[in-house]
Symmetry: C2
Subunit: 201 residues, 2 copies
């Protein structure tokens, strides 16, 4: 038993959304068709416009409807520092610290042979060209601390090695603020111990 | 800090979907823009088509792109039995039992003065007209057993009272199959005890 063909089709296409299964898709379809038609119209229209207009920034590869994103084209950002992140959402996270004034390079993923994501998919060639321009003095590896993120960071560090004028750094590993020692995993605690710093009083 | 204007707008419109907050909307937007553009296009297109074509069945009020839904127009369904449910999904649930051959009437909600849903919004006038046609011999109240569902069932039972030829029934209340007595709530257990039936051996 199913609904009418068009409603069934709407439910299946809603399942393209990550994290949406059959029950949620059904609930979403009924909600849009019955309770929020105007919202549904806006969603369909914006989605279709975004799919047409959004592509990758020519400089940093982030998702953006401009040719060059606002950060890359900002005159006050420091072009000598390049922070390498996995996703556009990571840029937002770093920007929220309000501590960083350099530029970004977005891999749009991480190396993952299982998913068929190799150096080509994460824009390594474009990164090399960027480094070849000679303006960058520091590369900050800000990939995740997952296995894939660490592998990707290691892979990029191998590349930056051949640019002796570039200093390559990695985000510090340690206890998160507000974290309880008792609940911290062993590897993180080991790294935090290993990289302990002198208390300045 | 935010993304580009168009991506921000896509994220806000994705939040029209029930159960989708900021983080999920962001994940959905990036997924569609980066990993599944074709799926995104299909979603936008199907959603927009469904919003245009789907409306309510003239007989039972369920969501449907036909004037009269396939159940209402089915020649083999018994037109003397009318099962009253809250949503189109409830029809699917009842149909899956494969035990019911009558017709449906979908309230598309339940009485809820707080949400501004009164008799008019749940199609009571249309239900009265349906009862006036004189073909119906039994009305099965299959609303939920929530406060609103019970209130709605009671409200409709008051209406059917004035049709002496119609017998009004309500779904049985009791222990669900596979349920453990120990975890059953008190009110349900009380009803199950009260409405106990003789074991036929």
């Amino acid at each position: 038993m199913s609904f009418s063909p068009l409603i069934d089709q709407l439910i299946s296409t809603l399942k393209y959304l990550p994290g949406v299964g059959n029950k949620s898709a059904q609930r979403m379809a009924f909600h849009l068709l019955q309770r929020n038609k105007e919202g549904g119209r806006q969603l369909a229209q914006t989605l279709s416009q975004a799919l047409q207009e959004v592509s990758n920034c020519k400089r940093c590869r982030t998702l953006c409807e401009l040719e060059v994103c606002t950060i890359c084209s900002h005159p006050k950002r420091d072009p000598r520092v390049l922070c390498i992140v996995e996703t556009p959402a990571d840029i937002v996270a770093v920007e929220q610290t309000a501590n960083y004034r350099g530029l970004y390079f977005v891999l749009m993923g991480h190396l993952s042979p299982i998913e068929g994501i190799g150096p080509e998919q994460i824009g390594i060639e474009q990164l090399r060209q960027r480094l070849d321009e000679g303006e960058i003095a520091e590369v900050i590896l800000a990939t995740s601390t997952t296995v894939e993120g660490e592998t990707t960071a290691y892979y990029i560090a191998e590349i930056t090695k051949s640019y002796p004028e570039i200093s390559t750094t990695r985000l510090a590993l340690g206890m998160p603020l507000g974290g309880e020692l008792e609940h911290l995993d062993g590897s993180t605690l080991a790294r935090a111990l290993d990289q302990r710093s002198k208390v300045i009083t």
